[in-house]
């Protein structure tokens, strides 16, 4: 590693490094700015706020950032506090990963879509799993029948995972799984498939989301209560540290807070608060922060307020680095790095004039790249209605390819660094987010705040306020409350359709896997899993054994449900 942590200082090491050139010039400028502000006070200036409700001045100047230290607060890319980026040369060294969230039907259809996306120039895979897989139910479970293969691909046993990655070289392609409650099982399946492709585990790279806390708040794919869920998470992190050190065993996600209604500032604060909870649990287990923290990554939604999004990511890098150093004494720079992926689209997509979503997503992708993102998923314009067609998914990928190869935005590291506005907003967001984190600390941390429903209520209230602002016209949404028109053509949209025979086909796959396996071995591995669940030992090796025996997700989770119980959702209206 070429990077070094800055030596400890009071964070104000270079008083003359402020953007103004010298004391007399600084005074001269301050006087000029005061005169200018007096003069423009007479002009009509509409009030402005960021999407999080932070006041925005009409102009930012050297005065706005004079309290910031060029080295201690802003620094250099690849060096603490990483405000300007986690890598020294950013996209000049390596392009961001283009990773389109995708998956539907059975493993066969999804494998075809992945190979098509890779042919189209996608550089990583992001697996969308169906709800039964996310909730630990087999495709033949009565609770699952209506949801098989709908919002993602159906995976019941290792046999499905083998098909999913057929002809996709796992030594060269990294894969991200949006999976939480059942993350340990999907991780086991993926590592076994990689091993069977002849890839050494030390070389396998990818990500499991594995972030249960935000599932209790938004998105809702929880199964077990917080304590056993956190145990499972630490087990997977520990397993990856020992066996698959290039695999990101947790991706702490703010995206779902945001899409449920949180502001950009809340999104960042709640996510880092979750991250601190996971780090603490690993430390409590006896893991060393410099060993496991480099495997932590983050995931966010980029919404429409361009500069606020850029500032959110810059503030996130600086704040995470500082928290890791202050609270956990991290020393390895990689253990302080806030590496993140984004999704562009989500709740900002509109059903009205849906092709306007193409522009929204493009601007969001631009903001993400200006914010120093590591991987980008650009959603398709028709996702307000259904999962995308091949055509709309292709256009979404092209959106980021045009950004990467035609606009020149990736040429210079952190090109908005030093912008008076962006630096000022970065500083403001860092302070606001830190204040929220400290408030959560005083209430005992994220777990009690989630169990009481407090975070859920704050987010829902924000979502309601946002909708009211749209409906009273305070927040303009083009095509929704301004520049509207009749759209008879909307009924004729060519949207993706699910194969009605899909559920039956997937149930056949499951029946075949069960017929071909050694049922005695399945019974023994599940009995062993139950014993381990009752002990304090890591669950991961027992899960790997059960998966290898082709035990299904439903069978494995049935054991864990019996041992751990299920989460009770707080009343949260």
């Amino acid at each position: 590693m070429a990077t070094r942590i800055e030596t400890e200082s009071d964070g104000r090491s270079a008083p003359d490094a402020a953007p103004s050139q010298g004391a007399s010039n600084g005074r001269g400028f301050a006087e000029a700015e005061a005169r200018w502000r007096e003069r423009i006070a007479r002009n009509r200036t509409a009030a402005a706020r960021t999407s999080s409700g932070l006041d925005v001045d009409v102009l930012y100047t050297p005065e706005s950032v004079s309290h910031l230290d060029a080295l201690g607060d802003i620094g250099l890319p690849g060096e603490y506090p990483f405000t300007r980026g986690v890598q020294p040369t950013m996209y000049r060294g390596r392009q961001w990963t283009m990773r389109q969230y995708s998956g539907f039907g059975t493993a066969r259809e999804s494998n075809e879509r992945y190979r098509w996306l890779l042919e189209q120039g996608q550089t990583g895979i992001s697996v969308a799993l169906d709800l039964p897989t996310q909730l630990g139910l087999d495709s033949d479970d009565p609770l699952a029948v209506d949801d098989v293969g709908r919002v993602g691909v159906a995976i019941d046993t290792l046999a499905d995972m083998e098909i999913l990655f057929d002809n996709i070289p796992l030594d060269r392609i990294s894969t991200s799984f949006t999976i939480n409650s059942t993350a340990a099982i999907l991780l086991a399946m993926y590592l076994i498939v990689a091993e069977r492709q002849g890839v050494r585990l030390e070389k396998v790279s990818g990500t499991i989301q594995n972030d249960i806390l935000k599932e209790y708040v938004a998105r809702g794919t929880w199964i077990f209560p917080p304590e056993p869920s956190l145990r499972l998470i630490v087990d997977t992190i520990e397993y990856c540290v020992r066996h698959a050190p290039r695999f990101n065993s947790i991706s702490v996600a703010g995206a779902h807070f945001r899409d449920a209604g949180a502001t950009a500032v809340q999104e960042l604060a709640f996510t880092l608060a979750d991250g601190l909870t996971y780090v603490q649990r690993c430390v409590d287990r006896g893991l060393k922060v410099d060993e496991f923290a480099p495997l932590i990554s983050f995931y966010f939604y980029t919404h429409n307020d361009l500069f606020e999004e850029v500032a959110k990511y810059r503030a996130g890098r600086r704040l995470w680095a500082r928290l890791m150093k202050e609270r956990f004494g991290a020393r390895d720079p990689r253990a302080m790095m806030f590496r993140f992926g984004v999704v562009c689209g989500g709740s900002t997509l509109t059903a009205q004039q849906p092709q306007n979503n193409i522009m929204r997503v493009a601007y969001q992708a631009l903001a993400s790249v200006l914010g120093g993102v590591q991987s980008v998923f650009t959603a398709a314009w028709d996702e307000a209605f259904a999962i995308p067609t091949e055509q709309s998914a292709g256009l979404a990928l092209r959106t980021q390819q045009v950004l990467a190869y035609e606009t020149g935005v990736a040429n210079v590291v952190d090109p908005l660094g030093g912008s008076y506005y962006v630096e000022s907003l970065t500083d403001r967001i860092e302070r606001e987010a830190r204040a929220i984190i400290e408030r959560i600390d005083r209430m005992g941390g994220m777990v009690p705040c989630i169990q009481s429903g407090l975070i859920q209520k704050e987010i829902a209230a924000e979502a309601y306020r946002h909708q009211q602002r749209i409906e009273n016209g305070e927040q303009v949404v083009v095509g929704v409350n301004k520049f509207t028109r009749e759209e008879p053509e909307r009924r004729q949209l060519q949207l993706w359709e699910l194969d009605p025979k899909l559920g039956a086909r997937q149930r056949d796959e499951l029946a075949r896997a069960k017929a071909e396996r050694d049922n005695g071995l399945v019974t023994r591995t599940l009995a062993n899993l139950r014993d381990i669940a009752r002990s304090e030992r890591s669950l991961m090796p027992a899960i790997v054994d059960a998966v290898r025996a082709y035990a299904s997700i439903g069978e494995i989770c049935a054991v864990l449900r019996e041992e751990f119980g299920t989460f009770q959702e707080p009343a949260s209206l």
Binding site: A144, A218, A260, A384, A460, A463, L573
Partner: protein, 138 residues
């Protein structure tokens, strides 16, 4: 009996965990003077029918973003029929619903469908209108 407030059950059937829309609609109906009960996540159609009957609601609002809206609406309405309540409890459906599915849902017996993009202020008046006409008919 015009003064009796309308009672609505906002329900999340199936496995979908996205509840932003359900909660925002619940707040809006409450602000419009209705009494709102929310089921929480992952209720089966049978459970929803049972809660609706126990809570003596005038309407059920199903919120579905997973694409399983047709099957789940069909099962909920079948459950109401089996309980003999289909005339007393109107079913409304909202969520990520492609335009092509609006008519089939209405044919299944949904009183109204509110797909993505429906303004909040369109929902309460529609529920009020339909509940009022059903109460008159009863």
């Amino acid at each position: 009996m015009e003064s009796k407030p309308i009672r609505v059950l906002v329900a999340k059937p199936g496995l979908d965990g996205h509840d932003r829309g359900a909660k925002v609609v619940a707040y809006a109906l409450r602000d419009a003077g209705m009494e709102v009960v929310y089921t929480g996540l992952r209720r089966s159609p049978d459970e929803i029918v049972k809660i609706a009957v126990d809570e003596d609601v005038d309407a059920i609002g199903l919120s579905i973003l997973s694409g399983a809206h047709v099957a789940l609406t069909e099962k909920t309405i079948a459950g109401l029929k089996a309980a003999g309540c289909e005339a007393d409890i109107a079913v409304f459906v909202g969520g990520t619903i492609p335009p092509r599915d609006v008519e089939p849902l209405e044919k299944l017996g949904a009183a109204a469908v509110f797909p993505t993009g429906t303004p909040l202020n369109a929902i309460a008046p529609k529920i009020r209108e339909i509940v009022a006409s059903r109460r008159r008919g009863a």
